[in-house]
């Protein structure tokens, strides 16, 4: 007999979990059975999503950040290119858009989050991709590159419509890079940069929020907090964001991070997702609440961690352990602690690094030990780390290699509690 593991989504989580499981089951049988791993995705374009931030500033090209999905999977892992119609959890079957049905013993939901443009009035109306952009997809990021290069001065607003979003620090990084970009072009004094957020500060966690607020101020970027965008007026001379509370933020050029939701098929699958199509998932074992043989990883889940690649990376180790134990009829044991870390590009060849988990907020100090990279402090070393990460992503993270010093559990050494 062959046990079937079906993984929906061939992004960061789906790919690294497929490769790690494949490596394990090449040498181990599951209950005397062999294991077939199948990855489903609607297309064959794997995007290095952190690269999208750099495209508007001419620092990365579309072709540099996209590779075929299939080529990232170990040989022996089957790749099926099709959209997903729905999951029938009672029959342990996935129904694909191409009509094919895939029966599974274990299912992994790794289809991430998608942009819900329609949920904000006026966002994609007149002025869209002309005066109003997002850099959260490649069309927007590429369009922004032209818009920024033609921008000769005026009001630039960067706006997060609502949480959760992928990579909560990216909009701040966009502000910092815009400050650097317009300084380089010699027109920084003609550009007013405003960051409008629904949060009550620059970031979700207090210590990091204070540090990032100081940086915004240092760089002359205005911060508008608790702003809930109700409508975008993107055309004409009176372009502005209108908040539900009546406040207005005028702009010449707007960079909007739209609301996010889970994949549409989750909504079409009975008993799988929540009201926003995210999948309710145990935050320690990554088993879903829908059924014991369905697991989830990364942006697709509702776990209270950032929707970020590092979270998915660290979850991957735990998820693989949970799935192996499930198949071998052993008790699930591994626990994900909410570990996340991210480089925050701050412009002028520098970056910050933050490292945190469910219970410990980002703190100053060094990572992963006292002699490592500086935490919550701008440095050239962190910027180089951010640039090097793309190599690490394709060559170590996706293939499922273990990297010494960077594991699922958050390191405590080197952190200074404040």
């Amino acid at each position: 007999m062959t046990k079937q593991i079906v993984i929906l989504g061939g992004g960061t989580g789906g790919t690294l979990v497929a490769n790690r499981l494949h490596k394990h089951f090449k040498h181990h049988r599951a209950d005397h059975d062999t294991v077939q791993i199948t990855v489903v995705d609607r297309d064959d374009h794997h995007m290095y999503q952190p690269g999208l931030l750099f495209v508007p500033f001419g620092l990365a090209q579309h072709s540099e950040i996209v590779r075929p999905r299939k080529a990232q999977l170990h040989s022996g892992v089957e790749f099926v290119e099709s959209g997903i119609d729905h999951v029938d959890k009672d029959r342990d079957t996935v129904v694909l858009e191409n009509g094919r049905e895939l029966a599974y013993d274990v299912l992994v939901i790794a289809t991430g989050a998608q942009l819900a443009f329609d949920e904000t009035e006026g966002l994609t109306g007149p002025g869209w991709n002309e005066h109003v952009f997002t850099f959260y997809d490649i069309i927007g990021a590429t369009g922004l590159e032209t818009a920024l290069s033609e921008f000769e001065g005026g009001k630039l607003v960067v706006n997060v419509v609502d949480m959760p979003i992928k990579c909560p620090v990216a909009p701040l990084e966009f502000c910092f890079l815009a400050d650097w970009y317009f300084t380089e072009r010699g027109i920084r004094d003609k550009v007013e940069i405003t960051y409008a957020t629904p949060l009550d500060g620059a970031f979700t966690k207090p210590v990091a929020s204070a540090a990032l607020s100081d940086l915004l101020e240092e760089k002359g970027i205005h911060l508008v907090t608790e702003f809930n965008t109700g409508e975008v007026v993107g055309d004409g001379d009176d372009r502005k964001l209108i908040g539900y509370d009546g406040r207005e933020v005028p702009f010449d050029l707007a960079v909007i991070i739209p609301m996010h939701s889970g994949a549409d098929y989750v909504g079409r699958s009975e008993g799988l997702g929540d009201d926003l199509n995210f999948v309710p998932t145990n935050k320690a074992t990554l088993q879903t609440e829908a059924k014991t043989n369905i697991f989830a990883i990364g942006d697709a889940t509702n776990v209270p961690a950032s929707k970020a690649g590092s979270v998915t990376h660290f979850e991957g180790e735990v998820l693989v352990d949970s799935i192996i134990r499930f198949i071998e009829h052993r008790e699930l044991q591994s626990t994900y602690d909410g570990h996340a870390n991210c480089f925050i590009e701050t412009g002028f060849g520098k970056a910050l690094l933050i490292d945190f988990n469910y219970t410990t907020e980002p703190l100053p100090g060094h990572f992963p030990t006292k002699v490592g990279m500086p935490l919550l402090k701008e440095s050239r070393m962190n910027h180089l780390g951010k640039l090097m990460f793309q190599w690490f992503y394709w060559h170590a993270l996706l293939p499922g290699r273990d990297v010494p010093g960077i594991g699922a559990d958050m390191p405590e050494h080197g952190k200074e509690h404040v």
Binding site: M163, P164, T204, E226, N228, G230, D245, M259, D275, P304
Partner: protein
Amino acid sequence: MSTATYAGVSVELNDEGFFVDPNQWTKDIAVELAKADGIEELTSQHWTVLEFMRKEYFEKGTGPTVRVLGKTSGVSVKDLYLLFPKGPAKMAARIAGIPKPKGCI
């Protein structure tokens, strides 16, 4: 943590003014809390939202965010802001006697 008296009942509040124990809440308390927050009269639409929030809290362990309220309560986000001008999720949670919605990270 502090203690306050509403409609003759002594209730425990956290540092941000949200109920520590949602079971201490009564409708009379809600009327008084709403008045203190500038809502002279709670209409049937207000009550729909407040009751929906309490139901969600007891079922899921946290109150809904504004976006989820707009999708599921039967009241649009625009109307929610008209009903609770100081921010529907927080203001309605306080009047409904439940902890501040966890929201998202």
